[in-house]
Symmetry: D2
């Protein structure tokens, strides 16, 4: 390496070593000048060598970790293409050693006696863990190492379609993060208006169900008749992993605009009989496929019951994200009428047409909710079709609606479909303004879960069941 001085990687490393000492990842990224290197072929080879040195642990594990951290900083400084090359190097050049694997399988086949057999199995298992896993672990020495790996996986998930090796690397990283984000390590914390601004700011950024419009909107969601809980990892104390917003009200809420109305005075939480989970958001793309939601809901229910003994009902007020898409596809796909004749007639009359069903797409795209007669004509068929969509429509064995799947898997039941429960543009677009309550009943959650995961049986209230009978 005669030209060390001119190598991009080396220069970057040298710059970074001094520059990074006291600067946090996010600060540096923000103030960067935007010109990020792409990692050309020469540098990729240089990078490979440096990765290899980390794995050899030259100078001891402490020094190796420090060098791995430097590599992590190089990664952060790269362009998207550069990052992909970095990850590809890691995936391809530090994969399972197949010669060693073949030898290990042979060794297993030849092992005599239980002790030798167990040793051979363990050796085989070790050979199957690619060296890159150790390097990923070494990145943990970065000041925000856990967040680094989560974000790295966020990047990686964008690329896994492109190569089998990258998908394989993702499997490694997912395994590592699954171990490190075991629910036993996470802290469930309540978030209030007394929480740090740097944390509250994240809620605004990450809220995925009902967008937070402003700090005033956020403050309303943290008022005395609201609760917000999140899981945190001890090494990412300012990053909620998943959070849930709860309203404490009288009766099971049927309308989300009412809940989000900032002008509504706070009620007395100690008198509320219902806890309504109206928003659950996962925040870290890099934790995709690692699930905390079931734990979150059950532990929040537990905490609320301890704090507020008058609470009797624990229910969601949930969106129905795929209803309208399904409905339109169903109309387009099969000729079968979805509407009953009487329903069709009533809707058609309200819009002065001959037939409703062929025009349903246009009708639902109109401002129908402002026309009382039309809205009334739509009400019953929409509720009926929505119930059908939620509890019966499947792709293979799998229910179509992802939110329904999540809550049913957790042991909830489909309790009530709420007509015009969400009058926002998003609400109309997703589900013709409907929302649904999933009810968590203490005594039946385990059996609901078993019935759902075992036989695919969906728990529901008698009202919802009634909607299904044409």
């Amino acid at each position: 390496m005669a030209d060390v001085g001119t190598s991009l990687i080396d220069r970057t490393l040298a710059n970074l070593r001094s520059a990074w000492r006291d600067i946090s990842v996010s600060a540096r990224l923000r103030s960067g000048n935007g010109v990020r290197p792409d990692l050309p072929a020469d540098d990729r080879e240089r990078l490979r060598k440096q990765m290899a040195e980390c794995l050899e642990a030259r100078g001891g594990e402490v020094s190796a970790r420090a060098r791995a951290a430097d590599l992590g900083r190089v990664y952060l400084s790269l362009s998207t293409a550069g990052k992909r090359r970095f990850l590809t190097t890691l995936a391809e050049d530090f994969a399972v050693d197949r010669a060693a694997l073949d030898a290990a399988i042979k060794g297993l086949e030849g092992a005599k006696g239980e002790t030798a057999r167990l040793a051979a199995e363990r050796h085989l298992r070790e050979v199957l863990v690619p060296p890159r896993v150790r390097l990923l672990t070494q990145f943990n020495d970065l000041p925000e190492g856990v967040k680094f790996l989560v974000d790295l996986r966020g990047n990686l998930l964008q690329e896994t379609q492109k190569s089998a090796a990258l998908a394989d690397l993702d499997d490694d990283l997912k395994d590592l993060l699954t171990s490190w984000f075991d629910i036993g390590f996470l802290d469930l914390k309540r978030i209030t208006w007394s929480s740090q601004a740097v944390l509250l700011e994240k809620l605004i950024r990450y809220e995925a169900v009902h967008e937070i419009q402003s700090w005033a909107d956020l403050k309303n969601r943290l008022d005395s008749d609201r609760r917000c809980y999140a899981y945190f990892h001890p090494r990412m104390p300012e990053e909620p992993l998943i959070f849930i917003e709860v309203a404490l009200v009288s009766g099971i809420a049927d309308n989300v605009q009412a809940l989000l109305d900032e002008s509504h005075p706070a009620e007395d939480a100690r008198q509320a009989d219902s806890a309504i989970f109206y928003s659950i958001s996962n925040t870290q793309a890099g934790l995709g496929g690692i699930s905390f939601g079931g734990f979150l809901i059950k532990r929040v229910v537990e905490d609320l019951r301890n704090q507020l003994p008058k609470l009797k009902h624990f229910a969601t007020l949930s969106p129905i994200p795929g209803f309208r898409s399904w409905l339109m596809a169903a109309i387009a796909a099969n000729g079968l009428p979805l509407l009953l004749p009487a329903e069709d007639a009533a809707i058609a009359a309200a819009v002065s047409l001959d037939k409703a069903e062929p025009n349903l797409k246009a009708i639902l795209a109109s401002a129908w909710a402002d026309q009382p007669a039309l809205a009334e004509a739509l009400r019953k068929p929409m509720l009926r079709l929505c119930a059908r969509y939620l509890v019966s429509e499947r792709q293979g064995d799998r229910l179509l609606d992802p939110v329904a799947r999540f809550h049913l898997r957790n042991g909830a039941r489909v309790e009530r479909i709420n007509w015009l429960g969400d009058r926002s543009p998003k609400g109309f677009k997703q589900a013709a303004g409907m929302m649904v309550n999933y009810l968590y009943r203490l005594g039946e959650m385990d059996s609901n879960h078993e019935a759902f995961t075992g036989e695919g049986k969906v728990a529901m209230s008698s009202d919802v069941r009634a909607l299904l009978k044409v």
Copy 2:
């Protein structure tokens, strides 16, 4: 035991479920009545079934974890024999499925194309992870789950000699704990007299080098011219994993009694030029083989340099645990004289004998340090032989002295052997009252490490080197 209701396990579980809700592990154990069940055969079968249910995750993962936690409480309630049976059940009944393993190997051999090959490798890797690993992970839901697993491994390590299956289980558990106790997750914290009593009490219990005699002794070790640091896991905040005691003094200390003298007034730490590491203790038997010491020393050096810029020397004042055993064995084993003729004569004269070497065992067992002439005669040969023991004596490639191995591996050098550096009974018994300083020099730690781990080369000062030349 036909009627489940009378099963010991079931009763224990039932009792525990109510009793455990608010009681911490330690409190319960202390107040137990001492009669602990042994887990007879019937119960072992029942236990196996319950373990299987946890792994099937009946009622969902949240419920499965709660049941695993109950199993963990059963484990804690068992006698030593009962615990061994519990662990054996886990080890034997939830090991790798060998039929599945054979099938997976066949699958790998038949895989066509890179994607299929990668999938087959991953499947093989999954099959090689025994189901018991998942159950171990589920124990993490206990209120002090991480500590539970560490202590469980502490128990397990007592039994691994007894069966290959238990040794294999230990390998699994060690892998799990190695991942969970990655240095990147640990907190380095300073411990002072303002720390919690519940924590300081642990230092007294765990100190392994120079016993802490009393709270007054402890307070002296936390005085303004001392420092104490420990690593902590975020889920075991009251349990130091390893801790180090440092004295801030002028000149490299050569005598441990002077350091531990409670009547000595505190010096001004800001004027000290030397940081003396005079005690490092690992605390958790269950983390055996998972090493934090190298990181601890290097990060403490870093922190001290930032806090106290006048510090120039970072050195240990260490025991030499195996010197006298080696010396006695060497005399017994080979006929070769260890003492030079002049040395032998001088010692012999001091004790009015003809020959010293054959009587060395008796001489060293006497109160020789109180006899000035004898002590003087012993001085030079003991220092010489000690240097030889520390830097040259090996079993195979491995240096005999474990403390020397640890510090040399970390990149320190053998700096100075201190005559009568430890006048305690333990000091005389281990090393004829000698102690040694290992010196950590910033610029040379990596190369020392490489030379030691690569070629077995021991770094040392010129003074120590001089001692080796007869």
Copy 3:
């Protein structure tokens, strides 16, 4: 009291006793129905009796405090008129007992011997402390008792013009708060974007110099090249008492819009040579006349010097609130020309008039800063007059400008007047767009203070001095 049940006060008290148990003051006030009682005469008499009972400490001091706290809640529930009546009752009915005062003076005159004399003096002093002071102290038992008293004084200060008794009560309360808010009790804390939202919200509310427009504006003021410090009372942890905003920059800043520009990237604070205090705001009306500003500035300087050793200059960038009012009044009042003939001619030329000075009001009210020639013509005379206003213009002995008085009293000097340093409407309105730097120089602050408070001498730079020479 036949009609106890119907008394407004009693009913209010009864309601409050149950309602208040767990509700904080602010929450209750917000959710109140807005109908607040006015405290009619009957109730005033009832109130007087209850105040008397608190002072008698019936049932012991613990119970008396609890009753005083109830009275405090009554106070909070009253209308403005009701509050005034409450305060008047306290002021008039629990004032110094004049008969006892006369007796005490007689006692003093008759006291024989030093011991008797000292006792008589002390007795006189006790008699001079009105009973209401004890009741004010008892309010401290409210959950937010200190804040209650501060706010009560805030109310009281609105009324002191109306009666001598209320003004006298205010003197008592000011004495009490002066003792309780002694600087030795206050905590100086740094405020960052990691502080609690509930606290940051207060900065937005209380900022008095350069309005905070939004949470994004606030975040910019807490960026890595900014510092914000506040004093807190241990019993009002969410209420800053006074806060200061500091920019860390290169060179002494001359323009506030540049400092407040959110789009400006953060500089490296560790390289800055100047700390610019660009905003200081008192927050509690009820602490009027109790000053923390001098301590705040000096302790912030101290902390910044420790944290950032490259800082060389500590200066304000301050408004000049009274310049333009003084200028207009000066023109109106005396016939003397303020502008020199050449200055007048240049300005007049730029606006095509014969004479500038008589039209100066109109000229300054125009958008003159957008007219380069006019702005250039105004520059020199405005700077000159501003210097004169700041350092020479007095009412009696007192300098006219309050900000100048504050900083000069603290030992700063007038360093530089910045032309167009504040182009906001407020900046033009107050001081024709000018701002001033006051410089805090470590070695000369005490002597500057002495010269200013003793002889009224104003410290200034040679540049400012030069401006004064016509």
Copy 4:
């Protein structure tokens, strides 16, 4: 001041200024060489001048405070005699200005109109506050200023008998501390084995009722069936002001050795029906006469009731410090027989004497508790006389027993006298081994307090009342 350099005070000040910057008060005192200056006359005059400069606030209040803090350090460095001279200077040279006082009284007499009258009263009140009060306040700027003043008063209280001026200074300081230690500022905190060692060490030092023998004894008093609470001042966070030790047991405890028995296993606190206050200790001599005990007991009762709803009884197990002294004095003083004839006879028989009463002193000084017959003979008369001592014996209006006065004043009643409740030497010496329970009953505390403080009426149980009837 020609000889500035040779002045002891100046030298001390100069030394202190540099030495004190970073060293806490306690650290410095410990490492001092023990030679403390006595403050000779020259220095006293110099001191007076420096005090005067602080009061003039030369260089501004910030600088004046810094100088006052230096004076405080001088004070700390002085010998006992030096401290007395320092305090005497403060007391005598900065007392009320009598000429100003006379003038103020004249001004009051001549004041016309309400406003002038109020102003004159206020002026008189200001004149009556000696300048030294301001200097005392300025000491608050020391790093541990509040503790400094508390300790200074501790010193002062040793000297107040010696001069009227010092007693007068103490009155000032007591007023100041009464205001600063208002109960509304104090934090009630629970102390546990998880508290800081530096804090727990203070409990060992300050325990005044039943000496804490060791850290193990302390740990037992903080076990899961015990509670310990203390009040803290926000500026003295490591110094409990008063603390109380509580045992949670079944039934009202009658024996303190049983409570303090370290070998006794902890009971389940949640099942306890009684909270026994078995030790209350004031810790700061310098807060003498400023009482927190009543608040402490009532707030602890409140907290315990919230935490442990099964608690029904709140009672003390208290010493009876003056019983035996009173008994001996009563026998010596009047010829009247204290023992009834039958009692006397029974005791006399047990010791083979003719008469018991004249020998009671000797009998009680013997190991009588080990002689069953004698103990039985003493039982009834001692209980009877103890009841009489506790509820009837007074000096003037005041009950003799200080512990009885404290609890009765707080609204408790005398519940039960416990025979052999304290078998320690101290227990026998104070009260022939008896202890007493004072019972706090929620509904009657206010009326008990009123009856006791108003009419001197002592609340007691029917059992105690029965003891009084001969």
